[in-house]
Symmetry: C2
Subunit: 206 residues, 2 copies
């Protein structure tokens, strides 16, 4: 076989596709090929077609998001950590709107289900620690899913322009607080943990 491992073209195509999305230009087969310095056939040899390329971009988006979440370190307050993970999720989405939008666009989703589950696992682990500490009574995975739902709903409405980005922090913190209260946490401690967890991310910028 010729060229066993040399994805230079492959990663270039993904990169240029993401660049097109980031600049609001329509993601078209010919545009990606031209900007990558190759021809349209390259997309077919590497991804089998345009849907394959889109899926590759989507997986790249999930990878970056999970990497971002894994950059959040545990502290002795798991509720704070879970709030910090939710805040990082929302801020990452706002910082990379087109990539986040692409992550939830089309079709199947085999590989990205794995990496999405990997990201959700991180939330679940924090919820498990919170339950071990006696602060949550609900099933940890349910708490994680509900915070994901809240973050995704907030992000989706903000990125569609129906809610202003300036209100994201207030709504996000309040929703997180509600999820934790419904899970059984004590109101005062909970409010403190959520405030800490959410503000701990604010500095990071993007």
């Amino acid at each position: 076989m010729a060229r066993t491992s040399d994805h230079r073209v492959r990663v270039e195509l993904i990169e240029q596709a993401a660049a097109l999305l980031a600049t609001d230009e329509p993601l078209t087969l010919r545009a990606v090929a031209e900007r990558s310095g190759t021809s349209t056939m390259a997309v077919y040899t590497h991804f089998g077609g345009m849907p394959g390329l889109r899926e590759a971009v989507r997986n790249e988006g999930f990878r970056r998001l999970v990497a971002r979440l894994e950059g959040i370190d545990d502290t002795e307050d798991p509720v704070r950590d879970l709030a910090a993970l939710g805040a990082a999720y929302v801020r990452h989405g706002i910082a990379h709107p087109h990539l986040y939008r692409a992550m939830f666009d089309p079709g199947t989703g085999l590989e990205n289900e794995e990496v999405a589950a990997e990201g959700l696992l991180r939330l679940t682990q924090a919820a498990e620690r919170a339950r071990a500490d006696g602060r949550f009574r609900s099933e940890p995975v349910d708490v994680a899913i509900r915070q994901w739902i809240a973050g995704h709903g907030l992000l989706d409405l903000v990125l569609r322009g129906v809610l202003p980005a300036t209100s994201a922090a207030a709504h996000g913190a309040s929703l997180t607080l509600g999820v934790f209260l419904a899970a059984g946490d004590e109101p005062e401690r909970c409010r403190l943990s959520v405030t800490e967890g959410w503000s701990s991310i604010a500095e990071h910028g993007r």
Copy 2:
């Protein structure tokens, strides 16, 4: 001018477009024209093009959703009513997945912003009553927005197939409970109101 008011073709086009979406067929210009018994130009005379038709379908979706919400009658428990509105929202989206998806698909959104605000107003009014009864401390419109965020996030993830539809009720009720707890309601009363409000809708079917 010929034929001052006769939208027969207009509503037929919208109807057939919605029918295409409902059967998972691709919404294409020629398909809509053929199924409506007319030609492609009709779409341009009535909607100015394909985006205009899509927007008309979207507005129709909003109208139906708001009509559904306005079918929820007030009781003496505003918290229960607000929960019932959220439940109706989620159930309606699950019952009409393609229409709900179309509502949040493309671009501008002038007219539908009005009708969307009209639907949100209904939630806000219930939250205002809850605040007048001393059960909520938060700003009513914020409570309404947060329940909308939760419902939309849940609906979006369910309709994309990442969450099973069977789990929608449990997550929806828990998220609603959390929003109300974060707004300041008393836990026991709140849990009762949410349970009542959510189950009051179950019978209605679609």
